[in-house]
Subunit: 197 residues, 2 copies
Amino acid sequence: MSNNSLNSLIQQLGKVPGVGKRSAQRIALHLLQHKETELQPLMHALSLADQHVKQCEICGNLDGQSPCQICQSVKRDATILCVVEDVADVWAMERSNGYQGLYHILGGTLSALEGRGPEVLAIEPLKNRIRQGDFQEVILAMNATMDGQTTSHYIAEILMEFKIKVTRLAHGMPMGGELDYLDQGTLAAALSARLVI
Amino acid sequence: MSNNSLNSLIQQLGKVPGVGKRSAQRIALHLLQHKETELQPLMHALSLADQHVKQCEICGNLDGQSPCQICQSVKRDATILCVVEDVADVWAMERSNGYQGLYHILGGTLSALEGRGPEVLAIEPLKNRIRQGDFQEVILAMNATMDGQTTSHYIAEILMEFKIKVTRLAHGMPMGGELDYLDQGTLAAALSARLVI
């Protein structure tokens, strides 16, 4: 335990989101007991990602090239733009296999509590893209949290000047969800947005 | 998602114990969004640990030097030897502040199910140390698991030829518990109430 490079490795691992002090110790141990099969490949992967992965200058996605593969793809529908909070949300959308348009990453949400105002979000770049692009619809796909919805409303208002169709994701029951376990807000939203069969 | 260095980073992170696929994505994202404050320091720490941390030739502990600081220390009681399964168990013992002797790391347990026999454990080195050293007591501090206790009994039998006092941790340990997860007080109590086998 009294070793400097070991301690600083444990300390660094402990900073990783979701990894506590004890987990960091176990991970450090595991890596050091498998230097060639685990530690060195991880180091190599980190180094490659550090060198090659960059932020897309158009949408803010992370990719090996800028503009990113999605922005460059001719197969994507360049008339729809989906605005999300974070890169992870792009991945989630892509996993859903339900979207073929382009993305715009805000880089977070507005937050009164944490003092994040519009100036830290990629809102000006969004306006420029809409001004210069050929978009017919903007989907606001923020998280269904307080901050996410506040941000969504704020951006919807800003986009009013563009006379463009602005939509948001539907609120309702998650697939496979059970009424009994659903929170009141979700159930109320699903109820008020009920559809004729 | 279709990026090679990003994907291989996520894949490597997913191999780390306790980190699933989704966590690996979140961690990769976090590191790439904080390259200078998180990714690069982690890379540096991994590289330093890779270069400097080695296995102690005597006890099997991980340290910046071999023999390790515990084996080299003149303050430790060189008449007591504590046999543990893994390096994490040495750390747990040290945290308990209840032990001042030396350690011997077996490198695992016997396991009939997983086909691990005595030949994969550091049992011959243990016998050599007892033969050449000046030990008056060997504490078998295996985990209180089936495999740990089997291993403990196996080693106790092997050590009978040395006419040395062989003890085990008191059963103040919760059954099924593992050293690394034990609270310090329980571990210290179990240590001080150790029994002759």
